[in-house]
Amino acid sequence: MPVTATLDARPSAPKGLLAQLASIVGGYHVLSDPDLTAGHEVDWTGRFTGPTPVVVRPRNPHEVAAVLRACAQYRVPVIPQGGNTGLVGGGVPRQGEAVLSTTRLTDLEPVDRLSGQVTVGAGATLAAVQRHVREAGYDIAVDLAARDSATIGGMVATNAGGLRVLRWGPMRSQVVGVEAVLADGRVMNRLSGLPKDSSGYDLTQLLVGSEGTLAVITRVRLRLIPLFTDRVTVLLALQDTATALRVLALVRGSVPSLDSAEITYADGVALVHKHLRLPSPFRTPTPYPVHLLLECAAQRDPADDLIEALERSPDLLDSAIATDEPSRRALWAHREGHTDAVNAAGVPLKLDVAVPLEELAAFEQEVRGLTVRHAPGARLVLFGHLAEGNYHVNILDAGDRDEELSEAVLRAVARRGGTISAEHGIGVAKARWLSLTRAAVDLDLAAVTKRAWDPEALLNPGVLFSADPA
């Protein structure tokens, strides 16, 4: 028998498995050529990567079940992968697992106008579902910048958040039913979407945020919201974080159409202005310390409500208001440009944390202090979703202090009763820190739950559970 030696020893799948997978989904959808699997082996950030012997692309839930049965039979672990936009390394292979790509599970059922719900394939992208439901006069409450690639299944698996959580909650609040396939191929169907159903454990919600460790989600039933016609966006110039919280409280209590409250700081804003060559939205020569972007959406122009709420606030140093589409988009650029501007400035250390709102102002100061202490010369760019106390902590030029600084920040989060992952999930990136914010009893229950669903530990090994806790 000829022996082929390659320098880069790639994992290989059992021969029988490949043939069996081909008989289920057709050979065309079983990828084992490294050129074809490459795109599935590295994540969006480029930080997480690993080899896979096979990527398999089933077309429907039956094929998913058969694929999982085949992998179980050969004891090959499986990584469920959607749009591969996850930011914590949970959707890419690590050491030779098979990748189950959901990107062909794209069926969209008609919008159910009576219940205001829709059932969609887990592999449908957010953008495709948005287009689909908007034609029926509805919208989906969660929106995020990765909409063209992120899949509904991936968003459920990570309990994605985004820009409108303040009013509508994260993905968890939108999911009214799921269909999922267990590691042994059994199918759990909870798609009825009944708004009321108090008959025991809510397994649907258990799958939200499970990050592919319990089952492969194949279909999702979503609650929809009305498609709003009128929006107003304002950018407020403020003195500090405490003031931003005071303004938020004022608006929250009196303007029910409030959708978004996004906070940014002078240094991040300066980076965005430089990167996008944007002029400042305000006419003063010296930049303001804090920008708070608020957006309201309604069926009738909500601008007056917002102005009335804020008109007499002594906290506004300045304000910029936009109601027409081009001006609104221009204002949003000052916030949405942050991710790109930071990436363009270097490879950042990225943390996605949240603390209780009463801790937020002090936490901000603490993070600034920690950065200076642990990595002098590093650049900290903070921005985030104010109403959830959710900061995206980006640190540039931390050099070899990355780990040390991560640990210091995450410990500070834990001390203040916060979470080490607000909306991106735990994946492999944060698994070793989970014990900072979860008690032993929580972790025990989680481990037992995992064994109950996936006793052979075939689904997404390494995610959520760490062999090496901090």
């Binding site: 300045d318 910029a320 208001i321």
Partner: protein
């Protein structure tokens, strides 16, 4: 008397939305949101800066347009303009640029002006000739497509950046100028501005007020006639390669690329 600046603005359909035509070949304004033309925001900005520089000056925003055009005036007022004039008359529907310039020139004569500031072109019609037509009808000098403008001692000065040269220009007042999108970023309205705008006066005028015969404007009075409108044909769908599940599609794709000399 304060220096009188009049900025001419247009209410246009949102260029980022799907625009349609009505039965009578005019733009269907009902089907899309309207707004203050982005290019005219630069004109408002320059008028406000001139007023700030001059000190004793008053800025009026002037528009000719349907009821909804008040939205555009409100934005200009919120940005800091002092008062507005809205020329509105059902007979104006379908007016071409010759008619528009006649009406706006008449309105300018009525309100009075020392300097008229226009945008470089509308974002819907995009002709860019209105400032020149206005100057001609008013019998005053015009400095068009300026990227910088200033007023001093009865003279308006400006810089025009062309492809081959930069011209420094000047003309005696009163005059008409148009400014480009490179003249400076337009400010956003602030809360204070929006609240203050509510109390600012908007004067409404119709053709009778201006002494203009309805038959000379509108679709009937237009110098040019649109005979027919057809939507641009959709881009052809192109060739669709269906795979048989066995990968035959790949061969067809390769053949297609080879045939088109793409590979």
């Amino acid at each position: 008397m304060s220096f009188r600046l009049v900025v001419c603005v247009k209410y246009v359909p949102d260029a980022t939305a799907d625009r349609r035509f009505a039965q009578d070949t005019t733009t269907d304004r009902e089907s899309v949101d309207g707004l203050l033309s982005e290019l005219d925001e630069h004109a408002v900005e320059q008028a406000l800066r001139l007023a700030e520089a001059i000190g004793d000056a008053e800025v009026t925003a002037l528009t000719l347009g349907p009821d909804g055009a008040e939205t555009a005036l409100r934005k200009a007022l919120a940005m800091g303009v002092d008062k507005a004039v809205h020329v509105q008359d059902d007979a104006v529907h379908g007016t071409d640029v010759m008619g528009t310039s006649a009406i706006v020139a008449r309105a300018l004569e009525l309100t009075g002006y020392d300097l008229v500031v226009c945008g470089m072109a509308s974002t819907d019609g995009a002709m860019g000739v209105l400032p020149a037509l206005l100057a001609e009808r008013l019998g005053v000098p015009q400095l068009t497509l300026l990227s910088e403008v200033g007023v001093e001692d009865g003279v308006v000065r400006g810089r025009r950046d062309g492809d081959a040269a930069t011209e420094d220009l000047r003309a005696p007042l009163p005059a008409v100028v148009s400014v480009t999108d490179r003249s400076g970023e337009a400010r956003y309205p602030s809360f204070k501005g929006v609240v203050a705008a509510r109390k600012k006066p908007v004067r409404r005028l119709d053709l009778a007020d201006l002494g203009i015969e309805p038959g000379t404007v509108g679709l009937r009075g237009a110098w040019t006639v649109v005979d027919h409108i057809a939507a641009r044909p959709q881009r052809r769908a192109g060739a669709v390669v269906e795979d048989d599940g066995e990968g035959a599609g790949a061969g067809q794709l390769a053949a297609f690329l080879a045939a088109g000399a793409f590979i």
